[in-house]
Amino acid sequence: MNPYAALLINAALCALVATLLLFMSRILGRRRGSTVKYEIFETGNPPIGSLRGTRFPVKFYLTAILFIIFDIEVVFMYPWAVAYRQLGWFGLAEMAVFVGVLAGGFAYIWRVGALEWD
C-alpha cells in the first residue's frame, strides 16, 4: 500500500482522537462560570495593564534566526548522509567546506557574544 495513503489514514485517526479529547471537557464537564473565573491568573491580583505592548529581549529573535541557519545546514546533511557511500572522499571534502564556512560564522558569533544570555 502506498505509504502516503497509509499516512493519510493515520492522520485522520489521530485528528479524530485529538479533536475528541479537545471537546471532552465541554461535553463531560459542568459549567459554572463567574467573572472572576474568566479573569487572567496573576497570583490573585487583578491584572494590571495589557500584555500587548510588552517588549522582549532581542536574544529570543537571535536564537530563532540562528536556529533557521543551522536548521538549513542540517537539512542539507540528510541527503548527504544517505548518499555518502556513493560520494566517497569527494562528498566528505564537499561537506567539510560547507560546514567549515558555517563554522567560521559560528566562531564569529560566539566571539562577538551573540550566544551569551545575561
Binding site: 502516503y4 500584555l51 500587548r52 505592548g53 510588552t54 517588549r55 522582549f56 529581549p57 532581542v58 529570543f60 529573535y61 537571535l62 530563532a64 534566526i65 540562528l66 536556529f67 533557521i68 541557519i69 536548521d71 538549513i72 545546514e73 537539512v75 542539507f76 540528510y78 541527503p79 548527504w80 544517505v82 548518499a83 556513493q86 560520494l87 562528498g91 564537499e94 567546506v97 560547507f98 560546514v99 564556512v101 558555517l102 567560521g104 560564522g105 559560528f106 564569529y108 558569533i109 562577538v112 551573540a114
Partner: protein, 161 residues
C-alpha cells in the same frame, strides 16, 4: 483527482487568508497551512524528500521565526489597507496578466501526463546524488549565503541593544 481539488481549494483559501486576514498571528498560521498543502503537492509530484524537508524548514523553522517576531513585537491587528489606488490597480493588472499568461502557456503546451517516473524518482538517494555532484558549486555557495545571513542578523540585532 479528488485529492488535487482538496489540496487546491485548501491552499488557495489559506493563501488568501495570509493575504487578507487582519491579525498577523492568523496570517502566520494560515501560512503554515498553505505550506502544508505545498508539501502535499510535492508528494503528489513524486518529490518525497522535498515534502518532508518542506515541513521541517518552512513549518518548523521559518514560520516559527515569523511568529516570534509578531508576538514579541506584540503587533496590533491591522486591516489590509491599500494606501494608493495606483498600487491596487497595479496589483489587479498584474494578477490578470499573470493569469492570462499561465493559461496561454498551459493551453499551448502538449496536454496529457508524462510517463510514469522510475520507482526511485524523488527519493533521497537520487536527489542527493544529483545535488552533490552536478550542483556541487551552488551547494558550496549556499554556505556563503547562510554565513552572510548569520553574520548580518547578529550585527543588525546587536546594533540596537
Amino acid at each position: 483527482m479528488i485529492l488535487f481539488w482538496v489540496v487546491a481549494v485548501l491552499s488557495v483559501a489559506s493563501a488568501l487568508t495570509v493575504v487578507l486576514h487582519g491579525n498577523p498571528v492568523y496570517c502566520a498560521l494560515a501560512l503554515v497551512m498553505a505550506l502544508f498543502q505545498v508539501a502535499l503537492m510535492f508528494v503528489a509530484l513524486d518529490a518525497h524528500l522535498l515534502a518532508l524537508l518542506q515541513v521541517i524548514v518552512y513549518a518548523g523553522a521559518i514560520v516559527v521565526l515569523f511568529l516570534f517576531v509578531i508576538m514579541l513585537l506584540s503587533l496590533e491587528p491591522d486591516v489590509p489597507s491599500p494606501g494608493r489606488y495606483g498600487m491596487r490597480a497595479a496589483a489587479i493588472t498584474l494578477t490578470v496578466v499573470l493569469g492570462v499568461e499561465v493559461g496561454a502557456a498551459v493551453l499551448l503546451s502538449e496536454p496529457g501526463s508524462p510517463d510514469p517516473p522510475p520507482l526511485d524518482f524523488g527519493s533521497t538517494r537520487m536527489v542527493a546524488e544529483r545535488l552533490f555532484t552536478a550542483h556541487a558549486l551552488p551547494f558550496e555557495l549556499t554556505s556563503v549565503l547562510l554565513l552572510m545571513a548569520m553574520v548580518a542578523a547578529v550585527v543588525m540585532a546587536r546594533r540596537h541593544t
